[in-house]
């Protein structure tokens, strides 16, 4: 059957980036339907009426919403292609899901304060909080990676995608605050991981430049303060 895969999203969105990485890992060709920042298309509103949010994957007419649910879906459907994304061991899968929740529920709001900070000083204070909240992931990486490059081991996995999607935004925050989010002495494993992830083929072709993130951050801040 001819596969029809469409992705409704915004190239700057970390949640959309997650899905693109998963699709790239599996070698799936898809049509990118880019939304306009600040408005929502009819297609989006129709395909995600409850949340009205991106990303939305449309696969042969069926819609799937919520970034990590889509990532799992991609892994399940194209299970024969590319690396396995969700760990096969149930305990490792549970750990990956737990820390993915942690990143979105606890870490991301702390990161958000950096972007909201109205002065450089406020941004720096918020960044310190966000950096502290990344700390537990150093030990998680040590346990999950088993000495390899990624949380997923030899290849990018579920937790790599959950955290790695934020790297562009993290680099933008680093530019705006002058702080390092992955200090080579405090969190050496995460620092090495970030470089590995950022330069991976499945990632670099879809990750916008840092300057684009910085510009976008300024645009969002202007909108928030308007």
């Amino acid at each position: 059957m001819a596969e029809e895969v469409k992705l409704i999203g915004l190239s700057m969105s970390m949640f959309v980036i997650r899905v693109k990485i998963a699709l790239n890992l599996k070698g799936v060709k898809y049509e990118n339907l880019e939304e306009t920042f600040g408005s929502k298309s009819e297609v989006l509103l129709k395909s995600n009426p409850i949340y009205k949010k991106i990303p939305v994957l449309i696969h042969n007419g069926k819609t799937i919403c919520e970034s990590m649910i889509i990532v799992q879906y991609v892994d399940d459907v194209w299970s024969g292609a590319g690396p396995s994304i969700v760990p096969s061991d149930p305990f490792d899968a549970a750990m990956a899901r737990f820390w993915s929740y942690y990143i979105d529920d606890k870490w991301f709001p702390a990161y958000g304060e950096v972007m909201k900070g109205q002065t450089r000083e406020a941004k720096i204070e918020a960044a310190k909080e966000a950096i502290a909240k990344l700390q537990p992931l150093e030990e998680v990486f040590q346990k999950q990676s088993k000495g390899k490059d990624f949380f997923g081991g030899d290849t990018i996995g579920y937790l790599d995608i959950a955290l790695g999607c934020y790297l562009g935004w993290i680099k933008a925050a680093e530019k705006l605050t002058g702080l390092e989010f992955f200090d080579k002495s405090e969190t050496p494993l995460l620092a090495a991981w970030a470089e590995c992830f950022y330069s991976n083929d499945a990632v670099k072709c879809i990750m916008p430049d840092v300057d684009e993130f910085v510009e976008f951050a300024i645009k969002i801040q202007a909108k928030l303060n308007a």
Partner: protein, 226 residues
């Protein structure tokens, strides 16, 4: 699997009740440890140092936390009988979407409808009605969200079948009623009539007495914390 299974939960918690139900549906023997939440045991804190919350599932000495993650873990580990999640990738993604919707939106709206007053209560009640309507439609006239058998969406919606009913009584409001949501109310009846479900739920009268007595203390919290 011959490894020891323990569940740290609490009597009044819908979250630990979910896990109890899942384990019983699978026919897994486990030690059911009820925590006194005012006085958390050292073991609980050891196994869930990040959140210090129940439920915690201990399997062969390894802790799994967050009720929805535990449900997926249980389904993947004891995959021989009574599938909790659909096998089809799309159906699975849909189920995960509804589970997330229930946890992120529905529970909070129902809880806040019962604990707030005035304009705030009015808004939460409007929100709740919108969400209940969505759930009513999602049942599509089926006995359960999972179709013929109890699945992950049904298990996650346990709050609606019992806690929301008790809380709305304590708060003196009527949100979930047969007139507006006949299919949902039928689901509640079917759900509560299952023997396995009955074994994993607290008694309605005891729950009512619990919330009624602690009305001021519990309703002072912004989120259900058991």
């Amino acid at each position: 699997m011959g490894e020891e299974v323990k569940l740290f939960g609490s009597y009044a918690s819908p979250f630990s009740s979910r896990v109890e139900l899942a384990l019983k549906l699978k026919g897994v023997s486990f030690e059911n440890i009820k925590e006194d939440l005012a006085n958390k045991s050292a073991l609980l804190v050891q196994y869930n140092p990040v959140h210090k919350k129940i439920p915690v599932l201990l399997h062969g000495g390894r802790p799994v936390i967050e009720s929805l993650i535990i449900l997926e873990y249980i389904d993947e580990t004891w995959d021989g009988n009574h599938a909790i999640l659909p096998k089809d990738p799309f159906e699975r993604a849909l189920a995960c979407f509804w589970v997330k919707f229930i946890d992120d939106k529905v529970l909070r709206a129902l809880w806040m409808s019962c604990r707030s007053e005035g304009e705030m209560q009015k808004n939460f009640m409007e929100q709740s009605k919108e969400y209940l309507e969505l759930l009513e439609n999602e049942l599509k006239g089926n006995k359960f969200f999972g179709g013929d058998a109890i699945g992950i969406v049904d298990i996650s919606a346990n709050f609606i079948a019992l806690w929301a009913i008790v809380l709305q009584e304590v708060a003196g409001i009527s949100l979930i009623n047969e007139e507006k949501y006949p299919i949902l109310c039928n689901w509640i009846e079917e759900f509560l009539s299952s023997e396995v479900v009955k074994e994993s739920l607290p008694e309605k009268e005891k729950l009512f007495a619990y919330f009624h007595a602690k009305k001021e203390v519990i309703f002072a919290n912004k989120a259900p914390a058991y």
